[in-house]
């Protein structure tokens, strides 16, 4: 597959030193590949980053530890991209919560102390939550209702709101919160990508919601464009369009297993408890109801537009 991003000319005024948290993750690696030629990158992650680009400095450190401060003392960090939060349904909530919220708090504090000019925080459009009475395209003003039906998403919502309050309290740090739709890609291991890789995915009988996907490279492009001087605020980020779930599964050659909605939650719940699958039953809402967003603000303000077509984006999970 062509990688359209490597030679991308982004924008004038790119910050000279950019720290990226969570850079060893699957999305972080895609971002590193895109940005390392554009600016000088500093990685912060508690995991190692073995096959990193040579011009990238990596610090293997937990965001909650005092040692993180050294990164900011040693490098004149001008901008921070915060991907270093995880939301795996199998990790105990207290552990995820401590890592996500305390780590984020520490990072924000360091941004203020060290005069970081730009902060980009990755959130997700799943914070709005799929619901039967959702408008077809949710704007950034829509309430974050996801925890209403799925409590596993509440620390992501907390993180998103925390970043928003930071945005208002610290106008000296240009803060951008990005809420991309389901990120997919050949190396991505999130729930959406894993679901689309199933040969026999469970669907909810009689439901076929419109789904929005974004290629990991396009999501990273939006993260990079958010570094643009002057950009500030909360933005939904969409991919090349929306398609019915059935069309995605047909494109990928899957054989869906439709289960009546009256039983599907119990079935998936049992399978999750028995550790047969990693999909919590609440995630079924995404197969049943709309959670699509309006991404026009990011297109207008960040100069973002997806570079991958709909077909490429769908087929990127293969």
């Amino acid at each position: 597959m062509r990688s359209s991003l490597e030679s991308a000319a982004l924008f004038p005024g790119m910050p000279r030193v950019v720290a990226v948290t969570g850079i060893s993750g699957n999305l972080g690696r895609v971002l590193a590949r895109l940005l390392h030629t554009e600016t000088s990158l500093v990685g912060i992650d508690r995991r190692p980053f073995p096959e990193r680009p040579k011009d990238l400095v990596h610090h293997e450190v937990d965001l909650r530890k005092r040692k993180v401060e050294e990164v900011f003392r040693r490098h004149p960090v001008e901008a921070v991209i915060h991907l270093g939060h995880g939301h795996h349904p199998r990790t105990p909530f207290s552990e995820t919560h401590s890592f996500n919220i305390l780590g984020t708090a520490k990072l924000f504090e360091l941004c203020v102390q060290h005069g970081v000019k730009k902060l980009v925080v990755l959130s997700s459009s799943t914070v709005y939550g799929p619901a039967p009475d959702n408008s077809n395209f949710l704007t950034e003003e829509a309430p974050l209702m996801a925890a209403d039906r799925y409590s596993g998403v509440r620390d992501l919502i907390e993180l998103d709101m925390y970043a928003q309050s930071f945005l208002w309290k610290h106008p000296e740090v240009e803060t951008v919160v990005l809420r991309p739709v389901h990120i997919v890609g050949p190396t991505i291991e999130n729930a959406a990508s894993k679901y689309l890789r199933l040969a026999y995915p469970v669907t909810v009988l009689g439901f076929d919601p419109m789904i929005q996907l974004i290629h990991a490279e396009d999501a990273c492009l939006a993260l990079a464009l958010a570094l643009r001087p002057g950009a500030r605020g909360v933005y939904n980020v969409t991919g090349p369009g929306e398609v019915p779930l059935s069309a995605i599964l047909r494109e990928l050659g899957r054989t869906p297993i439709p289960v009546p909605h009256l039983f599907v939650r119990a079935l998936i719940g049992r399978a999750f408890e028995a550790r047969l699958i990693d999909f919590p039953p609440e995630q079924l809402d995404h197969l049943q109801y709309l959670c699509a967003v309006d991404g026009s603000l990011a297109i207008r303000d960040l100069g973002y537009s997806p570079r991958h077509t709909l077909k490429e984006t769908i087929r990127s999970v293969l």
């Binding site: 039967p132 077809n136 076929d208 419109m210 709909l310």
Partner: protein, 284 residues
Amino acid sequence: MSELGAVVRGSLRALTFELGGPGSRERLAKLEPARNEYGVDPYGFDVDYAMAAMAPFLWLYRKYFRVLVHGIEKVPQSGRLLIIANHSGQLPFDAAMLGLSLLVELDPPRYARALVERWVPRLPFVSSFYARLGQVVGTPENCRRLLAAEEALLVFPEGVRGLCKPFWQSYRLKSFGVGFMRLALETGTPIVPVGIVGAEEQAPALLDLKPLARLLAMPALPLTPTPLALPLPTRYHLHFGEPLRFKGSPDDEDHLLEGKVEEVKGAIEKLLAKGLKERRHIFW
């Protein structure tokens, strides 16, 4: 399986063009909604699917309800539009017939999206069927977006209260909300009032089992003499009125907007009165 589906869809489309009358294939081809490589618009409207799904409803339109339209030329050919009508008949065949009339009686055809109740997306099959026909949940946000894109919307301000009213209240309009008027003022959208005669007798409800409806999380559960509220073959008359344009602030208090809403309601009542007077018989 999918091949069988394609054959069925193909023959249904052929039936649609046959029932649509001569030249309907060419006329309907003028419908060109935005669509991506998977054949849908951003709201999930699939025009090919719609052409096939239309066939059974068009059969009802031509052969069962034998719809007659009066004054359909008053519907503007393009630009944002709210089409406001009375709602009745237990099952929303009136909405289907009104939507179809704009597709088969106008040249070029006008495609109008109906706004559906908030509980529809909870229903299996119905939810995806409606979505492929391009219908959306009637949130103010959806309406604003579609009107800004110069689309036409079908609105039934009586909602389920009108749809499921008992037979002794036929042709007595339930109260209209002011939401559609706020929308019209905010977006500068003209309103075409429509009086639908015929649907009110198709499935006379004897009573509404409200407690049972609540138990089943349905908006209403009317009891009709025909099983499953199947409609009787009453003849439909669709009476279109002159477009109404309103001026004022969308943020006015409800009581200020109610006067304007009454004007629309009055226009529909007048169309209904005319339609009832001209009608010779319920069934023909």
